[in-house]
Symmetry: C2
């Protein structure tokens, strides 16, 4: 595309490397010149259209998918340092051809089976009476539910139950509670920390068939649905009615809303719409003994007693089984813009964020960052082209608003200030879907690029924003030539760092230099060793780095109160008790 503005260029015009992107410090001036023409106030910024394809060398554009498997989330940031390579993808129902068998969790990890009963034929008959046709024992079908999608942990459950109603869930749990049978609640099985599959032979209780929308209020935007509704289907449902789901995830094509709530999923809309603790209005939960706890209100305000639903948000199925969700959906934004910018240092990344909050205000919907090594990885391994000049840091700024013209104007002012003050040295902007996705791909495909770089040690941390990158620099110095790459990227707007280290192959000495160092460093900053993925099975041992003993004790007391026999998702979330 030949830019009509090219001839009007002035000092400060930036040439993006490799792709011929143009961004001009003086676009404000150009607008003013343009204001003499018939279109005095352009509804859309002219320079927004100056775009060329990001993928210069033929790599296909991917958005929120990974390795071409659209069911699978792209955010592979907390597989755990001990996980096998996430390059091994899982098909939806069985072991992919040629993929190595996943080692049983009980063989790989030091974990002892608790004294639960073993499912008998009598139990199976009882389940069949509760759920005629809903009891699965076929090993082929069970395989997909026994293995997590990262293919790092594997249970050996012999039975999968597929209830359709909360009453059926209640009858199942009442029975299991009575018979001391352990139960693994499972949604879309897209978790990152081994929380969604059995560790031993726990009964898998799937929400797959609990996929009914119960009600939607088109005035208030309140959606009430069963726990097994797939997030993407709910998104489509509410978008047709002028609303959006307050959360969005890479795994949206598979994950269930019940699982999202059970794991307190963060995701891509967190910066804008906040936590599920704020957007979930009500829950129906079946407790370990089969009691149905009906807190499925659709009210925005309700101060009658303790807010019990909060207990279950983020409890990873260990305190109760979420069977229905009431959630507040915000109105659908009419305009989305993405700017991809180069910053000279991390201080400028922070200052650009402050400036964005000030000038973009209510339309700022994402602020992601990545360092130069991340860009090297995606350009080198995935052959994506950087749309901007080489920089120490890059940020992706997304706006979502109700009026395209207004949003563009706000964005242009923000960019003008960022450029003129030197916070940003180069940048490009997209408004249409294809281009938005291409820019997002640069950020979202880092995980994939990392997995092609070698063995990956992954950490998903929350840290005070101003210290967010210090750990990366620190580790780079500490590890020296032991590591191929030490990279930092993530949801800066949420204080969420994805720290990744690669080496040619798994190295115990490198691991020893990483852990507990990373956890201790995070603890000193009062950070979180699991920002958004929970603890599940694989991270339950590191809880104490982020929570004091008094908190751990109270969590254990709550578990004992709500699930005295410990049958719900055992071996998860809380550390094994001595």
């Amino acid at each position: 595309m030949v830019s009509p503005w090219k001839t009007a260029s002035v000092p400060g015009l930036q040439l993006g490397l490799g792709c011929g992107f143009w961004i001009c410090r003086s676009y404000r001036f150009l607008f003013r010149a343009g204001a003499m023409g018939p279109h005095v106030v352009p509804r859309q910024l002219v320079w927004l259209s100056r775009w060329q394809a990001v993928c210069a060398w033929g790599a296909s554009v991917q958005h929120r998918t990974w390795a071409g498997v659209s069911r699978i989330p792209s955010l592979l940031s907390s597989g755990g340092a001990l996980s096998s390579s996430p390059l091994v993808c899982r098909s939806s129902s069985s072991t992919p051809p040629g993929a190595p068998e996943v080692v049983l969790t009980q063989q790989r990890y030091p974990v002892t089976r608790l004294p639960f009963s073993v499912v008998s034929s009598e139990d199976l008959a009882a389940f069949e009476r509760i759920l005629p046709g809903g009891v699965v024992t076929d090993p082929e079908v069970l395989e997909a539910s026994n293995v997590d999608w990262l293919r790092t942990v594997r249970g050996c459950s012999k039975v999968l139950l597929r209830p359709r109603t909360s009453q059926e869930v209640a009858r199942i749990l009442r029975y299991c509670h009575e018979k001391n049978l352990a139960v693994n609640p499972q949604g879309g099985n897209t978790g990152m920390v081994g929380g969604s599959v059995p560790v031993f032979d726990e009964i898998i209780l799937s929400t797959t068939l609990m996929n009914r929308v119960i009600s939607f209020n088109s005035v208030s935007g309140t959606l009430v649905c069963q726990a097994g509704c797939v997030l993407e289907e709910l998104s489509r449902y509410v978008e047709e009615r002028g609303f959006v789901m307050p959360l969005d995830l890479g795994a949206k094509g598979s994950c269930h809303i019940g699982g999202n709530v059970a794991t307190n999923a963060g995701g891509l809309r967190f910066l804008r719409y906040g936590s599920l603790h704020g957007t979930v209005l009500g829950l129906e939960v079946v407790l370990a003994d089969g009691t149905v706890l009906d807190c499925l209100t659709s009210l925005r305000k309700d101060n009658t007693g303790y807010d019990l639903k909060q207990l279950f948000i983020g409890s990873e199925g260990t305190l109760g089984v979420i069977t229905a969700v009431s959630i507040q959906c915000p109105p659908k934004p009419r305009a989305v813009n993405v700017a991809f910018l180069g910053c000279p240092g991390f201080a400028e990344v922070l200052q650009t964020f402050s400036s964005g909050k000030e000038l973009l205000g209510e339309i700022l919907s994402a602020y992601e960052f990545m360092d130069a090594e991340c860009m090297w990885l995606v350009t080198h391994h995935l052959r994506l082209a950087s749309p901007v000049q080489e920089s120490p840091f890059y940020v992706l700024v997304e706006t979502s608003g109700s009026r395209a013209g207004h949003d563009s104007e706000k964005l242009s002012d923000f960019l003008e200030q960022a450029l003129s003050s030197g916070l940003v040295t180069d940048g490009t902007v997209a408004t249409d879907q294809t281009r938005l996705k291409a820019l997002w791909a640069l950020r979202e495909r880092i995980s994939e690029a990392l997995s092609r770089d070698g063995y990956v040690y992954k950490y998903d941390l929350s840290l005070p924003t101003e210290r967010l990158y210090d750990l990366v620099s620190d580790l780079r110095a500490r590890l020296g030539s032991q590591a191929k790459h030490v990279v930092g990227y993530g949801h800066l707007g949420d204080g969420n760092l994805h720290l990744n280290v690669t080496s040619e192959a798994f190295s115990p000495s490198l691991l020893a230099d990483l852990e507990p160092y990373v956890y201790e460093w995070t603890a000193r900053q009062r950070g979180s060793v699991s920002a958004e993925h929970g603890l599940g099975f694989k991270k339950r041992g590191v809880l104490s780095y982020s929570k004091p003993p008094e908190a751990l004790r109270l969590m254990q007391q709550l578990k004992a109160l709500l699930d005295p026999k410990g049958i719900l998702n055992p071996y998860k979330t809380l550390p094994a008790q001595a």
Copy 2:
């Protein structure tokens, strides 16, 4: 003020009754005509300036104050049907001259003292050792802390403790726990339901001296402070730094942030920034036995185990004493507009809300409604003038955004659509502080007007938005001439109805027609019998109308787990156990 547009009026121009307000259906047309002049795109809508003073007959403009006592919140909506007239105002430290003595709670209500110890001189000496100079036994000083600000309940505590640190709170509670002494945590004592004062002789544990800001992060907007910080002072503090508190209340001049969190206060910014369950990032809480539970994280994301802080938000001091709060502050809006509109029916009130959500999008910050009887009350008793033509309903729409010009444009489009489609029949808009306050006063002074109308029966309910007004109409028919007025108003955007009934004097038969009818009606709609004010002492008996027995049982179990001796804020929140 003579409107320059008056001569350009076209059919559809509306004349507001009594005040000479003009609003024109064809202002879009006028803009277009105006666009031929030099100012092609007005930064601010011209018609926004067409304003005349609201208060036609000399009543002073009041905003978020009531009866001239600025310490006292104006939202008197759930004093409870049995409360004495809220017209009796309380001074800050003692009984106002001429005001009747408040009857002791134990004399007015059927409540029995639980077998706690009585404070001895030995206990006082122990407290003095923990808090040198912080032990108050002067009856004059104690009076203000024994009586709620509505002057409806009164305890007889003999000691008020004023710690400065959480360690001091911990030592006090450890002592009280050991000695079986009951404790009434108290913040600003601005609660509506008698939750903030002792029922008998509980020790009053005040957060007044715990008023230190611990930290503020000017990048992330995270404020960490002690529980006794006054909301208004925090607002000022963060506003000077470019942020706002995510909550605002009529009582902000007195209420403490710890009390706000303990009661899960709603307030005026709820529609925009949501619940404290979403905006509070961390808490420090001292448990009943003196254990300090440090969950005072400043992280937006932390999925390491159960989110314990949620337990204490809205638990009204019955599960622990909040000693410090970490809260996420949003950026300060640069522009605020208020539109006051007349609607021909409640269906139109709802449709206007839908339209506002669509066209105002991210800048909609309040949507309040009031019925014609409310307007009659404020015009008749307070001599305020209605700024718009007489209508069956009125709505107040507030926008808050980062750019005045954009916000005005969105607002004008919304109003044009509302007017042209007949949803709104008349209206006026304000942008400057004085006028904003005057429009807000029409909505906020309804409580005051009601209290001048006679004895007031007050209910604060959450209901599904589409049924919100049905209860008002229903009651009007049911009560007939027994009631002077049956009025409905409130935070429609949050589904929160303030239902008020007045009669010449207290009438047992009228009360019998109201209760349990109102609670049963609310329960049938799965509504909440306390939307934003909690249960405290006065409403704890009606919890079961909004929560099922399973929920109540779990609440009681949580209370027993966290406070096995029941020393924390006894007689509050949960119903008395049989």
